[in-house]
Assembly symmetry: D3
Homo-oligomer: 314 residues x 6
């Protein structure tokens, strides 16, 4: 694996292809424009300033452009910054493409697909199985590409599908310990709970909310989809309503965006599994770069807490 921009140390000279994640124009106090660039590759992102930017520069160095840069890694207020010496857009002969620079899930789409297919195959209730299979098939391509969120957790390519697969394994382990749980419901709930995000979010890159996402939200979108699927498949059992309830209530509380609190055992447990997998993802990422004996940066989505890595965790 190539050495990513975050694997260098302060003082190193850097020469790399990077993707412009965002580009913002500023005006310096001498009246001249400059660009604040966020540059990324699979290892993460870093800030760089382009001083005295010409009108041409502003036009060329837009988000989603791949650039070749050389420069020095500096420390600025405790955060790394790239001091640019040279920057130019990459050209088509150089054989680099956007996907080379995006973080992706640690398992392949094929592995994901095969795991999910297996879990659906194991379901015994035909109504639950058919609805789940139908909706998974309908949205499969986006499902395999989308992130699980715009930020906070699993915010990378295939993050949504990776989150679902982790949750399915967790659901399986928990159901093995508490046999009163209905595995069909639990698996279907895991697979469908966030599937509405493929319509709520704009896509895997520079992810933002769609108008539908803002006005209805992924919960309502997916509840509607389950209703439609049942009609198309001509399914009328209580399973339809129960699956809708699982999706509806999976945020756990009204103030977190669920219009109904969980009122079915598997709905309550689904909420827990979702939370636990998201927290593990956030905790691992926060502690990744922390040395034993140190505290992590504050994690906004974990109530702004800072986490400690014990000295004996070598």
């Amino acid at each position: 694996m190539t050495r990513g921009v975050l694997h260098y140390d302060v003082g190193d000279q850097v020469e790399l292809y990077l993707l412009i994640k965002s580009s913002t124009k500023g005006i310096a106090s001498n009246g001249k424009p400059f660009l604040t660039l966020i540059l990324q590759d699979k290892s993460g992102d870093i800030e760089a300033k382009l001083w005295d930017a010409s009108d041409e520069d502003v036009k060329v160095f837009q988000a989603q452009t791949i650039v070749k840069v050389s420069g020095d890694l500096q420390n600025y207020r405790g955060r790394q910054q790239l001091k640019l010496r040279q920057i130019r857009p990459a050209n088509s002969q150089e054989g680099v493409q956007i996907s080379d620079f995006l973080e992706t899930a640690p398992i392949t789409k094929d592995e994901i697909t095969s795991k999910i297919t297996q879990y659906i195959f194991e379901m015994k209730n035909p109504n639950i199985q058919r609805i789940t299979r139908h909706l998974m098939k309908k949205h499969q391509s986006e499902f395999l590409e989308f992130p699980a969120a715009t930020k906070n957790h699993h915010e990378f390519v295939s993050g949504l599908a990776y989150h679902v697969v982790s949750m399915l394994d967790l659901a399986q382990a928990i159901a093995a310990l508490y046999p009163s749980l209905d595995k069909d419901l639990l698996y279907a709930g895991v697979i469908l709970h966030d599937l509405g995000k493929v319509m709520e979010l704009s896509g895997p890159i520079s992810t933002s909310y769609t108008v539908e996402g803002n006005l209805l939200g992924h919960i309502t979108i997916m509840v509607n989809e389950i209703g439609k699927a049942a009609e198309e498949l001509n399914i009328h059992g209580e399973e339809v309503m129960v699956l809708q309830h699982l999706v509806l209530s999976h945020h756990g509380k009204l103030e977190w965006g669920s219009p109904k609190v969980p009122m079915i055992k598997e709905a309550e447990i689904l909420h827990y599994i979702d939370n636990l997998d998201a927290k593990m993802n956030m905790l691992d990422r926060a502690l990744e770069r922390v040395k034993p004996g140190e505290f992590s940066e504050r994690v906004f989505a974990l109530e702004n807490r800072s986490f400690y890595k014990p000295v004996f965790h070598k």
Copy 2:
């Protein structure tokens, strides 16, 4: 109009047909069973005790039975109570029926229908108009019968429709003062906002929640219905999503059961109109029996406040 049970004074002798609203068996400290009966007519309801109730009594004096009673009106801890002298079930020759004893909206179903038809007729946006008309037609008979809630406000026969008509008049008056409002959206929002209650609630008498009402709630039910209506009518404009948003957000806050807060001007105003009409209904009922210079009983749904009727309100 006949003199209702609440129009008598303490000390009066009473001889009336009444409907048993509920009947609860108790066991007195002497070990003998008795019945606590809530008896009602259109004027309201009153408690009565039937001491030394036989097994036969328990079987006969069930809820939804019409009875002929005679007795004395007493005061017990500040509340009126009926001391029974005689009680017997009414028979079919006596020409009394359940609907004679239920409170209903002060306007007829025909008036309601005609008003709503007129408001739909005035809509200019064909997509909004067609969806509203379609759903109103589909659920019309229940809509005209159901209460607006199980308690708190408009909890009587046709209460839902009466609430909607009052809100429509209010919407019209407000839109006349603030011309930037989209009347079509406002009228459609008013008509559809609580229509899901015809599936959330069990019906106009002894109203309770259905399983669907508990697990999904009237908001989600109606958002689904709008989606289905649009499909059946082959309507694809943004109006569909906007109407869904109006219904979705009409409780105003997440913690009040709306999974999205109002993000469209008419959605915000709809929430206000709903609130204002419900409050006026509760305030009027609370102050109805209060004399000038006195405070009303506490009203739970108005933050448990007690309201004062000024001395000069004669």
Copy 3:
């Protein structure tokens, strides 16, 4: 009407008289001072930077000074900014005055006065009518000039009076639909509810809070004024206390600054009317510059929400 500074597009050359709303000295990283000017006319306000400001510049370009500027309209981080080419103070021969640059209510003081006089005239309860007329007369000149607030809603010249007139029309429309409401109380409550702001705030321009406004607040100030008015007019009926209660409780909740919650029907409705008119004002201003299919900026006083203008709202 002349073309205001907000009616130009990015790239346009501008030559205009403008009023300095605020002027803040900064020190650039080259050690030289500069001024950040907020310039306004009736159409709104815009930022401009004056680089390398001399001591003389700092002295001349103070808030409340009218200036003649020429420059170019630029886009800076998504907000418009004026790039100054020339700036000089206007002189007395140029016939411009401060009031030419201030936003004012869309109706004249005469119209306001006539409307309020009419509503007071319609009152039937002489105690309510006399107190209201007395206080309106006492504070009339400030009432006609003051804004309704320092920010959020109706924060312009005559904003307070314009807010009151809109609320009176709304009160009239609502009272027509709910005849149990006491119109005298409602009108008096509307007229008096915020009248204390003429002592709480400093005035119509560069509005801030007075010491009395900070320590007592407009609610307490006006409750005291009603007490004094009643003494001067030798009025002793319960109307005095009831009017004081309406003013006292019009914020609706203790945590919003009302030491008593509404306990009279008209007090509850007054709170609603106040809220509804303020929200309509904020919503209209937020959506004014938004194109169909877009979201507005976040509105702090509307729980920081962003509002969507539907595509079909052309």
Copy 4:
């Protein structure tokens, strides 16, 4: 001092004069009426049941009647109850009067008056001194009789004045330790802070809220009174507004009924002194009957806590 009803033990025979605090009619399950009497003397109150009460009994044994009773002290569900053998109203020759049965403050009215006169005398700022003296004089007789509240703390005859005197001593001690405090303001704030209760509450016996107390509250009432006093005394200094602020803000938070939070140092400290003295009163009363090693009953106004008396507190 005579032995009070609470000084007897379960099993004792009792023969005492007692005051009926409240009398409530019930109907037993055998259909016959009975009376629940709360009987009190200075030592506290106790419940008694009068079975098979005649119409005459109901008329005679009303609240505020002094009765001669004999009976046995029983334990019923962990609380003491008086099992009546005989009960009759006391007659005028028996030389008992209502005040013999009411709890009162542990210092006399004369001591209170003399202490308060002394604290006012020590004030150096003539404006503060004159307003305080004027209002104390105006409301003196009620001030010396009223309780500080209907329940929770100092809810006995002269409770208000006793609370004020304790707070004055506390204010003096604190001001001695923190010399930056303005003693005049602190003393005046203590004396005036609850004085509005003489209009908010109905009186020292069977205390309830007046209409004015409900609609305006003691805070607003006293702020108005300070305004009137200043006018009558022709005082115009900032002291008037500052005293009003002290009264206005003494509940400390908006949600506790102060429309403004403390914004003057002495206002903040006044809130603390008020709280501390009220808590000491509640704590002492809760722990009075508790033995070392036991927990008290829960105290509602102390967040429903139960307090422990250490074993070594003998």
Copy 5:
């Protein structure tokens, strides 16, 4: 297994040995005393009334007495009640003992001991292992007897140990899926987190709080115990403080009684595992007696929610 009192249906005649869980004396409206008895066996508890109780009855039928009863099972207000025909205390020849009537964990103490020994054996960090083993040994006999709480979840004999064993299995399953977790910390945290309850609670029967439990609580008690253990074992590594942090923070939030929020990954996950196992226990018990298509009673510790058993859960 014998048929328990809860396995009978309304109308059945019952003849059983039962344990008196509580006995409360009441006085009926005819002035005669009666006893309200809560009678239990392993299947649960039921209420019975003993009318016209003599002084002898009151003395004999105390809590913790085993009685032989015969009677009829009745329905009273939707709850089952036992109508007594005969009741007498069991005598020593009848071979019944208190433990026959108490609910206990579904696994034996030996199984529990062996599982916990195994988990401690698997630990690799000697400091963590020694402290855990030391404290488990010190409190083992109470640990194996005590309930996990006085109510809500695992409130039966050996409930604490059963809860710990379930959590250990859950911790193992989760750690298998998220290999970054420190299993030693997780297992030790699970074993120690509630061990302080053996000092906070009074014991396995008629469980109440000790004075130490009220004033310090099981969290503080166990943090102190870990400190003492480390001193006795002469262990000084950071493991001591980290284990204390795990116990300290396992309630997850300050307002739930943890003076520190989790700041170590395993502390966060421990809180989740604790919650999940407690919820599963409460959910299973709530749904145990519910038929498909019905809602359970409300569960206070699950935010007072009622849970639905789907129709297809047969």
Copy 6:
């Protein structure tokens, strides 16, 4: 006393020794580095910019360095700033030391020690006295040096001890007025309540939290210490647990970090005394530089309030 940096006025020339409190490197828009220095002496601190800082400058002008500076006092956005003309590190011959620049408590360590010794001497309960004396002796040297907090109140050298001494005097005055208070408990509670801060915080200069402080907190640390002290002194009475409860509950509420609310009278009063002394300290500091008729800056730890100094406070 020498004239401190805060005693100069804008426009004055300054030549002073100052201590660098913090030094932060920035990069100006011309690409050159600069330093933002916070310089302090006993009178307070002030900001200064060092433009065009060389690598040498960055190395030399670190926090905790004493420098000799000359420059001009300027006003920048309403706050004072020092415009540097010259700056150099002080050398060892110049006779200046760090303690010359640190704010310290207004009484000496000897006075503190003598007062605390006296309060401990007055205790009558030998268990309480011995534990308090033991722990005071154990941590005395840090106790006399440490601040009471990193910010908000008493955040200066010896701040902790000064806070304790003020609280002791306050406790004595309050106990004199409420004789039911146990003075031994109150004094011991005051002395021990924050003593854990000597392990929670890093020390008197550039104070930060230790790892133990973050993971356990001063409350838990001191509760452990009391337990150890009791063991070492072989004390077993209830006093140990009661003292632990006082320390445990002194923050007053769970959400403020106390795992138990006060359940002993002296614990409740200790919480009040702590609060009152901290607030007096914050209020005095906030109002120190405010002129009569003005408002202070907002004080974060006093709910972000601003305080007014009355005009008559000259």
